[in-house]
């Protein structure tokens, strides 16, 4: 989901879902980390067929999830054009009230960029935080991670690597 990806700093794709043998993390700036499960690789060391099938499935999944960034770009474009539409609407209302010449000469050139600049950093984080209330998945992962760390620190479990 887009919001979860943004919260976690990148898209995470697991293949197969739920018990990943391959995981790719594609970050906003293009940095990409791909992890292969050692246990799975060792189990299939002599047989190349399933590995190739798994990789093909993984590539398809990654490609599908990357489309989410196209959605983000589209949302950005809509925000951009929406801001211009709102500005134009405001000008029409202002023009009908005070006269177009006065509005165009004195107020609009100063107000439009200032308004966009003022609102964008205030509205977008607000929308992001509003969406956080629905991020049950992120919080469930946090609970799971805390339980795992507590177990490790109490000496009850092992495991390598940060996180998963």
């Amino acid at each position: 989901m887009l919001w979860e990806d943004l919260l976690r700093g990148g898209i995470t794709v697991d293949t197969p879902e739920g018990a990943p043998r391959l995981r790719s993390v594609v970050q906003l700036d293009g940095d990409t980390t791909t992890l292969a499960s050692a246990a799975y690789l060792d189990g299939l060391a002599a047989d190349d067929g399933p590995l190739q099938a798994l990789m093909a499935e993984h590539q398809a999944r990654v490609a599908a999830r990357l489309k989410i960034y196209a959605s983000l770009q589209a949302a950005g474009a809509w925000l951009h054009y929406g801001a211009w539409a709102a500005s134009a609407f405001s000008l029409v209302i202002g023009g009908l009230t005070f006269g177009y010449t006065h509005i165009l000469d004195e107020v609009a050139p100063a107000m439009v960029p200032l308004t966009i600049r003022y609102l964008a950093p205030r509205v977008l984080p607000g929308l992001l935080k509003l969406a956080l209330g629905r991020q049950a998945g992120v919080f469930a992962d946090t609970h799971q991670e805390v339980a795992k760390l507590q177990a490790r620190r109490n000496g009850a479990a092992g495991g390598a690597g940060a996180g998963y």
């Binding site: 050692a38 946090t142 805390v146 795992k148 390598a160 996180g163």
Partner: protein, 272 residues
């Protein structure tokens, strides 16, 4: 890395766009778990790094943690003591370690001590007893990442700390603060990106790495430790990841280009 303004954050992400790095890693103990919230992710990183340092004989001691606290507090004359630090006491109890800046500073100096001692072995009469190059690479990674994380965690603690429970508390304290609903630290995109990278790689061995710079320079490093039977698969997987990373990079540049183009048209297009 700054936590002060949107301009700084955008600048930080833009700088990140100048190069991309693609890593392929073989990971043991992999499950479906995704990255938790930032304070807990920092605990995971501390857990992972301190485990690695302890297993190498360089666990963080209370004395080292005190020195690290003094250093980030700006106390003079601590550097030489830190440079000469040796692991001469038992490591900290895991229940006492925190996710604060002092802990990352202490881990940085512990890893630096391991590299220093390895340098001495390499130059001595028995260089064959030096660390395996992949192990040494992880110590170097810990130094580098902790150096970046210290100012970042200090900034987070100053901004969202709540008596340093979120960014400077023990696991129990942090978990309590996180679950009590203090979740207002998500607008730090550049911070999330950096912590995410550190969390993802942990102390695992990087089998293949490709770095691409904006001027077209590309460097690929392949570990000699890739086992023969899996070599083809892992290299094909890495190639696929490089394509994915480059496509994402291209998309980000296209976005920036379109925004700049729009601005140019707005400013310079001929008026009717």
């Amino acid at each position: 890395m700054s936590l002060q303004s949107w301009k700084d954050r955008i600048e930080s992400i833009a700088l990140g766009l100048l190069t991309i790095e693609i890593n392929t890693i073989r990971k043991s103990g992999m499950s479906a778990q995704k990255m938790p919230e930032l304070p807990i992710a920092l605990h995971s990183i501390v857990d992972c790094y301190s485990d690695f340092l302890s297993s190498g004989g360089y666990g963080v001691t209370q004395a080292l943690l005190d020195l690290a606290s003094q250093r980030i507090g700006g106390a003079p004359g601590v550097n030489n003591t830190l440079i000469a630090w040796k692991p001469d006491a038992a490591p900290l109890d895991m229940a006492e370690i925190t996710n604060g800046a002092a802990m990352f500073e202490a881990m940085r100096w512990a890893a630096a001590a391991a590299i220093r001692d390895d340098n001495i072995v390499l130059l001595g009469p028995t260089p064959e007893k030096a660390l395996h190059q992949e192990v040494r690479a992880v110590f170097v990674r810990i130094v580098s990442n902790c150096r970046q994380l210290v100012p970042l965690v200090k900034g987070l603690a100053a901004k969202y700390g709540q008596s340093n429970e979120l960014f400077g508390g023990t696991l129990e304290e942090t978990a309590q603060a996180v679950f009590s609903g203090a979740r207002n630290y998500y607008d730090e995109t550049d911070v999330v990106i950096l912590i995410r990278k550190v969390w993802d790689i942990g102390t695992e061995t990087v089998l293949a790495q490709t770095s691409v710079q904006v001027d077209g320079d590309m460097v690929t490093r392949i570990s000699p430790d890739i086992e023969g039977a899996q070599r083809d698969f892992l290299l094909a997987l890495h190639t696929s990841s490089v394509k994915t990373g480059l496509a994402q990079w291209q998309a980000m540049f296209d976005l920036v280009k379109s925004l700049i183009g729009e601005l140019g048209r707005m400013l310079f297009a001929p008026r009717p």
